[in-house]
Amino acid sequence: MKKTKRFAALALSTVLAMTVLLTACSSNEESPANKNGTNKTEEGEQITLKFSFWGATIEKKTVTEALERFEKKTGINVEPMHIPADYITKLTTMVAGNVAPDLGYMTSGSGLSWAEDGKLLNLSPLMEKDPDFKKEDYLDQVWYETEPGNIIGMSISVQGYGLMYNKDMLLEAGVELPPTEADKAWDWDTFIEYAKKLTLDDKGRNALDPEFNPDKIKQFGFQYDPYNMMAAVVSNGGNFLTEDGTGFGLAQPEGIEAIQKLADLMYVHHVSPTPLQTKSLPDMALQTKKVAMTVSGNWALQAFAEQEFNLGVGVLPKLKESNTLLDGAPMVIFSSTKHPEEAWLLYKYMADPEQVLPLIEGGLWMPLKKDWYTDPELINKWAAGNKAHPEGYTDAFMKQTLENGVRTPGFEVKNLAKINALVTPALDLVWTGKQTAEEALKGIEPKVQPLIQGYYGR
């Protein structure tokens, strides 16, 4: 009996020891940060900021280098945290575990909803306090606000959309090169005609030929990722939600018409690959002449510049008006940071085009500051005279995005992730030719309606 008790005591103490160990582990994380927080004014105390971001090799390198320069300049330590995949999943876990980074990239949907839950810092007070910072210096379109006055940040970069094409293929087919100025943009019929000229079957007949065989297409005139369908919708005068933020904009006549016209490119005009055909296209479809023209955001220029082909750019063909999408994702400061002022210094640093010039010059980003779009000297630093920014870029992308860029839903539509969980599968039915745009969008409209909560920042 006595022996049993001793064993029991031993067992119990082991459990206790384990528990203490485990709790000690978790509280350890907290203590140095706390110490930093209370002592940060003391001299010699080393402040460390955690900066989380995503991106491929080049972005990782440039961002890390920029962070290192910031360290040297300010003496503030920065711990770069590169998260190449499952970014939001990882950050969610970190935020839930109270070990969120101090600042970093964020996705727009989660960013805005986290801000509503008070997880992100309102940057307005920091900006007002800072005499070196003028909000007017930055593009008006890049700010994320949950409501007027609660600013969670700027976009990491600006991303305008445009037409990108293989110039040689257009010249060979005798197709006029896409215009780079908004007022000369191709209308939809012109665009379809040229796209048909550029679509060839296995016998070399183009899609205008009555003998053309749409089952054996060897070269497509035009490819677009359904992700970019909003470009057509805004060009047709529609948007994701209705203007007043109470209705499902895609299911309005303008939205339906635009999406149907995109689907028709695949199933009526046969100039674009269907999602199934896209799966067997190579990544370098422009270089390998499988595709003549494509639509993408600015970032694609970086990859194209690394390939060996004659890249050209133009404004998007228009449905009703010539415009484009302005896309992005916010950079934010987490409200859990112990060093908001230092985080703001780094934030400002990363928003400065000069510090991330390799990414801008390389075609991945467009700058956030207004004068980089107007001052010829600054423009020459990035938008002209290099491989990623071919002739016409300043008109087709830079000017078009600045003047006619319509912000993507991510900037301001509330509850977007949930709405998209319904919209994406419904649109899949359209892209695979199983339903018309009207059937699909009207079909989900009653389910989408209760999820609509209007716009952020209005």
Partner: protein, 290 residues
Amino acid sequence: MAAAGILFALPSILGLTLFTILPMLTSLILSFTDYRTVNTPKFIGFDNYTRLFDGTDPYFYNSLWVTFKYVILRVPLGLVFSFVAAFLLNLDFIRGKSIFRTIFYLPVIVPAVASSMIWIWLFSPDLGLFNSFLEALHIPTLNWLYSEKTVVPSIVIMSLWAMGSTIIIFLAGLQGVPRSLYEAAIVDGAGALRKFFNITIPMMTPIIFFNLIMGSIGAFQVFTEALIMTQGGPNNASLFYNYYIYREAFQFGEMGHASAIAWILFMIILIVTAIFFRTSKSWVFYESEV
């Protein structure tokens, strides 16, 4: 001495408590709250559950249906396939058995992510091996993972390929059937079919039962294939229940809601297993109970 036993079992007990029972209880509590990972949980009673059952959540019934479809296809096919494979591997006249066993077991060692990547290629509508094969036979090709009708059967086919563990268990069972029974049957003039249905199958029922239970539990929790190969598509036709939980929890951040969904799956598996156990008395034969 009992205490010594407990002490030795302590690592498992601790592990089970800390990493299974506590998280389960936490998720049960969370399932009654509005918890979106970044906020403080707020108690909302049965709201998470009613939202599921009254159809406010548009994916719940769809996901249940898709998962049941998978289970109903996968479990019987899996049992038949692995039983037949094990039976063939156990035949006396088959040569190079160890090679076949290795071949059948190998897919189990391959991580599900890696094999999913390979199967994406096999299923590819334009370049895939399966469609090339169908084309060569002049049979209409399929869209496999990219069509709502074929996506679940495609994933079932893929899962059959990785049945190695079940095959091994069946094989062990087959080798455990006493030879004396067969010999006695031969003396009595029984043919191969007779031996199979009157000796092999009855003697194997405990193993079949075990594999049925494990297979069903596993099938209800199918996840990796949906994550890697289809992301629940096309049009939610492969939105398996576990993937649905993952999406709610980690993509939409709806932890409370996801906990409720998870607990419903737990109850479903519990009920299904209980039903199997109930029926087992009428068809599972234990030698020790005779």
